[in-house]
């Protein structure tokens, strides 16, 4: 089963004071908790969080729910908090668009773009 088991790796770093989470693999109902746990380390009120999804090969509604929940938690501490997503895979862009979440997050093609003020 290991060959079929979805895998997700998430790491959290920072760039000039902005937290940057990098995810790779599949974010689904079985793995989304790993993303939730990592993003939980970002304090409420953080003005900007970058989540790099460029190496994510699958993203379902559960993963989207984690991202929305993270944004809401950050905004509980500061209304103008935002989550910037780095997305390069067309299917990930598509799922953000069909759910209307492309308007909720800022979507960028690179981490550099996402970090720009």
């Amino acid at each position: 089963m290991d060959a079929e088991r979805p895998t997700l790796r998430v790491s959290l770093g920072e760039h000039e004071g902005v937290p940057v989470a990098r995810a790779s693999g599949e974010i689904d109902v079985a793995t989304a908790q790993g993303l939730r746990s990592e993003l939980a380390a970002v304090p409420s009120g953080t003005r900007k969080l970058v989540v790099d999804l460029s190496e994510v090969t699958f993203l379902d509604s559960t993963g989207l729910g984690v991202l929305v929940a993270t944004l809401k938690r950050l905004q509980d501490g500061a209304d103008d908090s935002r989550v910037a997503l780095v997305v390069t895979r067309p299917q990930t862009v598509r799922v953000l668009e069909v759910t209307g979440l492309a308007r909720v997050f800022s979507v960028h093609a690179s981490v550099e773009d996402a970090l720009a003020p």
């Binding site: 689904d28 079985a30 379902d60 509604s61 729910g65 929940a69 809401k72 299917q91 598509r94 069909v98």
Partner: protein, 156 residues
Amino acid sequence: MSTDPPSPLAHPARRGVGGPGSDVEISMSADPEMHVLARLTASAYASRFDFDLDDIEDLRLAVGELCIACSAGATAASRLTLRFAYHLSSLRVECTVTAVASGVDDDAGNPLLGGLSPGELSRRILAELVDAYRVEPAAAGVRRGSIEMRRRAAGS
């Protein structure tokens, strides 16, 4: 007059034209870790019928959402069964999950999702990606759902 045995390529399941002979059914635990098998099967099945890569990706995501929706209230004893069928350029996936707990409501607005329910996100995805979908309320411990996706004509 000799009668050659029918070519195995004449079988509908091998010709890629569909019909009852090409149906596939898989059954597994409803554990979320197993959903990846459902998605892999969906991809492989659609590729047999010349769905293009974008459609296969859409189907993979849609089947994952169907499994999530049908598994609301699933227990350790729950079994998830998927039946794939292709006929007249339309691929249909039926999902059945047994031993689901009653009264589980995935439509409850989750404050962590800004009032958006997990079911609403799933429905938005399914409504956009497939031609038809249906998820029934659980009845007698069983929840059923289905999706249908038509193969687009080449060049459309």
